[in-house]
């Protein structure tokens, strides 16, 4: 820049066109000084930052893209590695089983003799997950109602922290606790009562004395998915505007009527979303279920019987798969799990977004 420029600027500072539009060109006029100020010299010496900005932008885009790539790679690998099973067993592998010609009993899963049917795994996953939802949802909604609407202020933060701590416990520790504490408890005290009281339904019989099985895994799953359901329910309940509550109260409603009509009704879509998200968690849960479900590839009507689940059979058998078809069939089960959890999570996210959209999200 010429030394004469500042002199012209003094007379007509507004009319001078800016010499360059880049950010470095916006420096303040140097005033009457003959020499450019130290700041100006420094800024000029740095040159154009467009290149560095471009590189930085590209790097960040690359990071964001890598998330796509990872999900695509996971999907590709699962499809690729289950080719053999798709070709030989197909989709009907999930809902049919070959009948034994002699006994007439279905043969489900016997990799040594080449029998593959994922039916008991699908059954075990569905039974334990839905039973877990049945146990967890009333409790989770109850906790959320208590924490948002009833709890005295000084208890709210510590209780919320404790329920969230439940989410931070790793599933292996839940499994350990379930195996050594919960299962004996169920075996000695809960299961006999269930058999006596509800045995007539046919859902509870005492053929399995170990305490392991669908019911034990449902109880531990319920404890594990409680925090996610209750914290999301809390989030959508807080998103309901206060005017709704005040309007219902102004009509003379009791607190429960206010919660039922003013809060739960408005938040119901989000609560369903939270429940579905909990279901997604339960479907994919591996270690805790693996440790208490018993791992027998059978289908029993009794909830106290042992069984197995999709995730736990993968964990149990994949490392020691006896042949390629066995390995491939396990990957196919994994692929089914992947697709189902994606669908379940997508539905749940959409439902939760539909309610909380527009309100700042709460701390998780």
């Amino acid at each position: 820049m010429d030394a004469s420029v500042p002199e012209i600027r003094i007379s007509q500072p507004q009319l001078q066109p800016e010499p360059e539009p880049s950010p470095t060109g916006h420096g303040a006029p140097t005033g009457a000084a003959q020499e450019p100020s130290a700041i100006r010299t420094f800024l000029l010496s740095r040159g154009n930052s467009a290149f560095a900005d471009g590189v930085f932008h590209a790097l960040m885009v690359l990071c964001a893209l890598s998330i796509f790539v990872i999900v695509a790679l996971i999907a590709y690998q699962l499809v690729d590695k289950s080719q053999l099973s798709w070709a030989q067993l197909g989709i009907k592998f999930f809902y049919t089983a070959v009948k034994d010609p002699v006994t007439g009993q279905p043969r489900y899963w016997d990799p040594v003799n080449g029998n593959f049917s994922a039916l008991p795994f699908v059954y075990g996953t569905l039974v334990s997950s839905f039973l877990a939802l049945l146990l967890a949802v009333p409790l989770a909604v109850g906790v959320a109602i208590f924490l948002t609407e009833m709890c005295p202020g000084f208890l709210r933060a510590p209780l919320a922290f404790l329920t969230e701590l439940l989410a931070a416990i790793p599933s292996i520790i839940y499994g350990l606790w379930a195996l050594f504490v919960l299962v004996p408890l169920l075996r000695h005290y809960v299961n006999p009562v269930l058999v006596k009281g509800l045995g007539w339904t046919g859902l509870f019989d005492d053929t399995n004395p170990t305490g392991l099985g669908f019911f034990a895994s449902a109880v531990i799953l319920a404890i594990m998915i409680l925090p996610i359901i209750s914290s999301l329910t809390r989030e959508v309940m807080t998103a309901v505007p206060y005017s709704q509550r005040e309007a219902v109260l102004a009509l003379g409603a009791t607190r429960w009527e206010m919660i039922r009509m003013g809060v739960l009704r408005n938040a119901r879509i989000g609560i369903v979303g939270a429940i579905i998200l909990g279901l997604g968690r339960a479907l994919g849960e591996t270690m805790a279920v693996l440790m208490v479900i018993g791992n027998t590839p059978e289908i029993h009507k009794s909830l106290l019987a042992t069984g197995t689940s999709m995730a736990s059979v993968i964990a149990n058998e994949f490392a020691e798969a006896i042949n390629d078809l066995h390995r491939s069939a396990l990957v196919e089960i994994g692929l089914a799990l992947f697709v189902v959890t994606i669908i379940v999570n997508a539905i749940a996210q959409l439902l939760v977004w539909a309610v909380t959209r527009g309100t700042p999200s709460q701390a998780h």
Partner: protein, 296 residues
């Protein structure tokens, strides 16, 4: 409506109200109860088995008493270090993209959605994918492929960290007021420098919180390690070997028939949970002090 019927009705309403309050309190107690029981059990059974050997010795051979989990603790540290090397930069980078460059664009929404999908992928499926990607293929010029290794376990865990880090980074950056960015740009600071030294730095306590949460989450993961890191009863000397991890060792010991190994499993669980609770409490402490108090 007669007065008597009206009074009965309002009595029923009042009773229902009290009953529901009681049920909600009962539900809360029922939820807190397992937490208290699990912690009591962990401390009671775990602390009695913790000794100096636990932290300095490797597992004893089958059936023998004594030994420790030193290799599993170090192995977990190695795996988590590798996972953080992968998960934290990619997570923060994509979070920065979502908050600073891609606000409101379709691409950013797609990234956000994909991150949520990745977050929901069951950990066992992540293990299968990592096995298929890293353990199964044999390519001669890439020596870290083709066998169970610390690498593969670290990568599986690292991928699981990405969505948590990404979303919390984005959330924290969105809390940084625009004035701060404008001030930086107004001083002639290039955009990349403004993002790194001003925006990310302002939000850094929150971003660190997100990283710690992701770290705590993968610290206890077992399923993705079953067919990647595999576990090891001895010290691993290379990242290309199977490596022990605390959750894996707990799993192995829990399934063993020996009472002594059950005690070790409880001790391992106690160590694991103490680490995780420390991380989560630290996060809670930092966030409760107001991450961006000065800025917002």
């Amino acid at each position: 409506m007669s007065t008597a019927a009206f009074q009965l009705r309002s009595k029923i309403r009042a009773v229902t109200d009290h009953a529901v309050t009681g049920l909600a309190i009962l539900a809360t107690i029922l939820v807190i109860l397992p937490l208290a029981v699990i912690f009591a059990e962990l401390v009671y059974k775990g602390a009695s088995s913790l000794d100096w050997n636990f932290f300095t010795k490797i597992p004893a051979p089958e059936g023998e008493t004594g030994g420790g989990m030193a290799n599993a603790i170090v192995g977990s540290a190695v795996l988590l270090g590798l996972a953080s090397l992968i998960g934290v930069p990619i997570g923060i980078g994509s979070g920065v993209y979502l908050a600073e460059f891609g606000r409101g664009t379709k691409f950013a929404n797609a990234v956000r959605f994909t991150a949520d999908v990745l977050n929901g992928v069951p950990s066992i499926v992540m293990g299968l994918a990592a096995y298929a990607l890293i353990v199964a293929p044999h390519i001669s010029f890439l020596p870290f492929l083709g066998h169970f290794s610390a690498f593969s376990g670290g990568i599986a865990l690292g991928i699981m960290m990405i969505p948590t880090v990404c979303r919390s980074t984005e959330e924290m950056l969105l809390m940084v007021p625009h004035v701060v960015r404008e001030a930086a740009l107004g001083l002639g600071v290039p955009n990349w420098r403004s993002v790194l030294s001003i925006t990310v730095k302002t939000a850094s306590p929150g971003i660190i919180t997100g990283c710690m949460l992701a770290f705590a989450r993968v610290a206890g993961e077992t399923a993705p390690l079953l067919f990647t890191a595999l576990g090891n009863q001895f010290w691993s000397t290379s990242l290309n070997e199977p490596i022990a991890a605390l959750p894996l060792q707990i799993y192995i010991y829990a399934n063993s028939p020996y009472e002594d190994q059950h005690r070790m499993a409880w001790a391992g669980a106690l160590v694991l949970i103490v680490l995780i609770v420390l991380a989560v409490s630290l996060v809670r402490y930092v966030t409760s002090r107001g991450v961006l108090k000065g800025a917002s």
